[in-house]
Protein backbone atom coordinates (compact mmCIF):
# COMPACT_ATOMS: atom_id res chain seq x y z
CA UNK A 1 0.00 0.00 0.00
CA UNK A 2 1.23 3.46 -0.88
CA UNK A 3 1.43 6.40 1.48
CA UNK A 4 -1.87 7.54 3.00
CA UNK A 5 -4.28 8.74 0.34
CA UNK A 6 -6.77 11.51 0.78
CA UNK A 7 -9.83 11.94 -1.39
CA UNK A 8 -11.70 15.02 -2.56
CA UNK A 9 -15.23 14.21 -3.71
CA UNK A 10 -16.66 16.82 -6.04
CA UNK A 11 -20.47 17.00 -6.15
CA UNK A 12 -21.85 18.88 -9.12
CA UNK A 13 -25.41 17.59 -9.48
CA UNK A 14 -28.67 18.67 -7.89
CA UNK A 15 -30.40 16.01 -5.76
CA UNK A 16 -33.47 13.97 -6.89
CA UNK A 17 -33.19 14.92 -10.58
CA UNK A 18 -30.31 12.46 -10.87
CA UNK A 19 -28.91 9.67 -8.71
CA UNK A 20 -25.49 11.24 -8.59
CA UNK A 21 -25.93 12.98 -5.23
CA UNK A 22 -26.76 9.77 -3.37
CA UNK A 23 -24.13 7.72 -5.10
CA UNK A 24 -21.40 10.21 -4.33
CA UNK A 25 -22.36 10.27 -0.66
CA UNK A 26 -22.18 6.47 -0.53
CA UNK A 27 -18.60 6.74 -1.75
CA UNK A 28 -17.81 9.39 0.86
CA UNK A 29 -19.16 7.28 3.72
CA UNK A 30 -17.30 4.20 2.47
CA UNK A 31 -13.98 6.02 2.20
CA UNK A 32 -14.50 7.28 5.71
CA UNK A 33 -15.25 3.77 7.04
CA UNK A 34 -11.96 2.68 5.46
CA UNK A 35 -10.18 5.44 7.41
CA UNK A 36 -9.34 7.42 4.33
CA UNK A 37 -9.42 11.19 4.87
CA UNK A 38 -12.18 12.55 2.62
CA UNK A 39 -13.27 16.10 1.85
CA UNK A 40 -16.35 17.25 -0.02
CA UNK A 41 -16.70 20.13 -2.41
CA UNK A 42 -20.23 21.03 -3.44
CA UNK A 43 -20.01 22.99 -6.68
CA UNK A 44 -22.50 24.35 -9.21
CA UNK A 45 -25.86 22.61 -8.90
CA UNK A 46 -24.26 20.37 -6.27
CA UNK A 47 -24.83 23.15 -3.73
CA UNK A 48 -28.53 22.24 -3.82
CA UNK A 49 -27.76 18.94 -2.11
CA UNK A 50 -27.25 20.95 1.08
CA UNK A 51 -30.70 22.60 1.14
CA UNK A 52 -32.63 22.37 4.44
CA UNK A 53 -36.11 20.86 4.79
CA UNK A 54 -35.85 18.37 1.93
CA UNK A 55 -38.59 15.77 1.67
CA UNK A 56 -37.77 13.15 -0.95
CA UNK A 57 -41.01 11.26 -0.32
CA UNK A 58 -42.85 13.98 -2.27
CA UNK A 59 -41.31 12.41 -5.40
CA UNK A 60 -41.00 8.82 -4.13
CA UNK A 61 -37.35 9.03 -3.14
CA UNK A 62 -35.41 8.87 0.10
CA UNK A 63 -34.51 12.23 1.60
CA UNK A 64 -30.89 13.08 0.91
CA UNK A 65 -30.65 15.39 3.89
CA UNK A 66 -30.77 12.36 6.22
CA UNK A 67 -27.65 10.93 4.60
CA UNK A 68 -25.94 14.30 4.75
CA UNK A 69 -26.62 14.67 8.46
CA UNK A 70 -24.70 11.45 9.01
CA UNK A 71 -21.48 13.01 7.70
CA UNK A 72 -20.30 14.46 11.04
CA UNK A 73 -20.83 11.06 12.70
CA UNK A 74 -18.50 9.60 10.11
CA UNK A 75 -15.94 12.30 10.93
CA UNK A 76 -16.38 13.91 7.55
CA UNK A 77 -16.12 17.56 8.40
CA UNK A 78 -14.17 19.14 5.57
CA UNK A 79 -17.13 20.34 3.54
CA UNK A 80 -16.61 23.20 1.12
CA UNK A 81 -18.75 25.48 -1.02
CA UNK A 82 -17.47 28.45 -2.98
CA UNK A 83 -19.03 31.84 -2.25
CA UNK A 84 -19.57 32.29 -5.95
CA UNK A 85 -21.58 29.07 -6.34
CA UNK A 86 -23.59 29.81 -3.21
CA UNK A 87 -24.57 33.23 -4.60
CA UNK A 88 -25.41 31.77 -8.01
CA UNK A 89 -27.57 29.08 -6.43
CA UNK A 90 -30.01 31.64 -5.07
CA UNK A 91 -29.65 30.13 -1.58
CA UNK A 92 -28.31 31.79 1.58
CA UNK A 93 -25.89 30.13 3.98
CA UNK A 94 -28.78 29.95 6.44
CA UNK A 95 -30.69 27.75 3.96
CA UNK A 96 -28.09 24.98 4.29
CA UNK A 97 -28.65 21.85 6.37
CA UNK A 98 -25.00 21.48 7.39
CA UNK A 99 -22.22 23.78 8.54
CA UNK A 100 -19.93 24.27 5.54
CA UNK A 101 -16.77 26.21 4.85
CA UNK A 102 -17.55 28.95 2.38
CA UNK A 103 -14.36 29.59 0.41
CA UNK A 104 -13.33 31.95 -2.37
CA UNK A 105 -12.73 30.56 -5.87
CA UNK A 106 -9.00 31.19 -5.60
CA UNK A 107 -8.75 28.50 -2.89
CA UNK A 108 -9.80 25.80 -5.39
CA UNK A 109 -6.39 25.08 -6.98
CA UNK A 110 -4.98 24.50 -3.48
CA UNK A 111 -7.88 22.19 -2.59
CA UNK A 112 -7.17 20.03 -5.66
CA UNK A 113 -3.46 19.96 -4.79
CA UNK A 114 -4.03 18.94 -1.16
CA UNK A 115 -5.75 15.68 -2.04
CA UNK A 116 -4.12 12.72 -3.72
CA UNK A 117 -7.31 11.64 -5.53
CA UNK A 118 -10.22 13.68 -6.85
CA UNK A 119 -13.48 11.86 -7.64
CA UNK A 120 -16.07 13.80 -9.59
CA UNK A 121 -19.82 13.14 -9.60
Amino acid sequence: MNAQRSVLVLNQSAPYGSASARESLDVVLTCSIFDMPVSLLFAGDGVYQLTKEQNGSAVGQKTLEAMLSALPMYDVDSIYVTRNDLINSGLQESDLALPVQVIENDRLPELIKQHSTVLTF
Binding site: A14, S18, D45, E53, V59, E65
Partner: protein, 98 residues
Protein backbone atom coordinates in the same frame (compact mmCIF):
# COMPACT_ATOMS: atom_id res chain seq x y z
CA UNK B 1 -50.36 27.72 -27.43
CA UNK B 2 -47.45 25.46 -26.51
CA UNK B 3 -46.56 24.17 -23.04
CA UNK B 4 -42.79 24.00 -22.51
CA UNK B 5 -41.47 21.60 -19.87
CA UNK B 6 -38.08 22.49 -18.40
CA UNK B 7 -36.32 20.04 -16.06
CA UNK B 8 -32.83 21.55 -15.83
CA UNK B 9 -31.41 24.31 -13.62
CA UNK B 10 -30.49 27.85 -14.66
CA UNK B 11 -26.87 26.70 -15.13
CA UNK B 12 -27.93 25.18 -18.44
CA UNK B 13 -27.83 28.53 -20.19
CA UNK B 14 -27.62 27.21 -23.77
CA UNK B 15 -30.68 25.01 -23.26
CA UNK B 16 -32.70 27.78 -21.65
CA UNK B 17 -31.79 30.31 -24.33
CA UNK B 18 -32.87 27.78 -26.94
CA UNK B 19 -36.21 27.29 -25.20
CA UNK B 20 -36.72 31.05 -24.91
CA UNK B 21 -35.98 31.57 -28.59
CA UNK B 22 -38.83 29.20 -29.56
CA UNK B 23 -41.52 30.89 -27.41
CA UNK B 24 -44.60 32.39 -29.05
CA UNK B 25 -46.86 34.92 -27.30
CA UNK B 26 -49.14 33.10 -24.90
CA UNK B 27 -46.91 30.03 -24.52
CA UNK B 28 -46.57 28.62 -21.01
CA UNK B 29 -43.62 27.12 -19.18
CA UNK B 30 -43.79 24.46 -16.49
CA UNK B 31 -40.71 23.94 -14.32
CA UNK B 32 -40.41 20.30 -13.29
CA UNK B 33 -37.77 18.16 -11.52
CA UNK B 34 -34.48 20.13 -11.30
CA UNK B 35 -36.16 22.86 -13.35
CA UNK B 36 -37.87 24.17 -10.19
CA UNK B 37 -34.53 25.68 -9.04
CA UNK B 38 -35.12 28.34 -11.71
CA UNK B 39 -37.86 29.67 -9.42
CA UNK B 40 -35.42 30.56 -6.63
CA UNK B 41 -34.68 34.29 -6.39
CA UNK B 42 -31.78 34.78 -8.83
CA UNK B 43 -30.31 38.18 -9.50
CA UNK B 44 -30.26 37.71 -13.28
CA UNK B 45 -33.24 35.46 -13.85
CA UNK B 46 -34.50 34.84 -17.39
CA UNK B 47 -37.98 34.82 -15.86
CA UNK B 48 -37.58 38.54 -15.14
CA UNK B 49 -35.49 39.57 -18.11
CA UNK B 50 -38.08 38.06 -20.47
CA UNK B 51 -40.98 39.10 -18.23
CA UNK B 52 -42.29 35.54 -18.01
CA UNK B 53 -43.45 35.30 -14.42
CA UNK B 54 -47.11 35.22 -15.42
CA UNK B 55 -46.64 32.39 -17.88
CA UNK B 56 -44.32 30.25 -15.74
CA UNK B 57 -45.49 27.51 -13.36
CA UNK B 58 -43.60 25.16 -11.04
CA UNK B 59 -44.47 21.61 -9.99
CA UNK B 60 -45.20 21.54 -6.27
CA UNK B 61 -43.97 18.00 -5.45
CA UNK B 62 -40.57 18.80 -6.93
CA UNK B 63 -40.45 22.01 -4.89
CA UNK B 64 -41.26 20.10 -1.67
CA UNK B 65 -38.78 17.29 -2.35
CA UNK B 66 -35.97 19.81 -2.75
CA UNK B 67 -36.78 21.81 0.38
CA UNK B 68 -37.75 24.91 -1.59
CA UNK B 69 -41.31 25.50 -0.33
CA UNK B 70 -40.41 28.53 1.76
CA UNK B 71 -37.63 29.72 -0.52
CA UNK B 72 -38.98 30.13 -4.03
CA UNK B 73 -40.49 33.27 -5.53
CA UNK B 74 -44.09 33.85 -4.57
CA UNK B 75 -44.97 35.39 -7.93
CA UNK B 76 -44.70 32.04 -9.74
CA UNK B 77 -47.76 29.83 -9.52
CA UNK B 78 -47.29 26.33 -8.10
CA UNK B 79 -49.29 23.49 -9.64
CA UNK B 80 -49.74 19.86 -8.61
CA UNK B 81 -49.85 16.84 -10.95
CA UNK B 82 -53.49 17.63 -11.81
CA UNK B 83 -52.38 21.11 -12.81
CA UNK B 84 -49.65 19.54 -14.96
CA UNK B 85 -52.27 17.47 -16.80
CA UNK B 86 -54.60 20.48 -17.11
CA UNK B 87 -51.83 22.69 -18.57
CA UNK B 88 -51.02 19.88 -21.05
CA UNK B 89 -54.64 19.75 -22.18
CA UNK B 90 -54.97 23.51 -22.52
CA UNK B 91 -51.88 23.66 -24.73
CA UNK B 92 -51.95 22.49 -28.34
CA UNK B 93 -48.71 20.60 -27.78
CA UNK B 94 -46.10 19.93 -25.14
CA UNK B 95 -42.38 20.46 -25.84
CA UNK B 96 -39.82 19.05 -23.41
CA UNK B 97 -36.47 20.73 -22.81
CA UNK B 98 -33.77 18.55 -21.24
Amino acid sequence: MTLHLLNKTQQNTALIERMLSTLSDGDQILLIEDGVYNALPHSESWIDSKDLKQSTYALVCDIEARGLSSRIRTDIEQVDDKGFVRLSCEAEKVVSWF
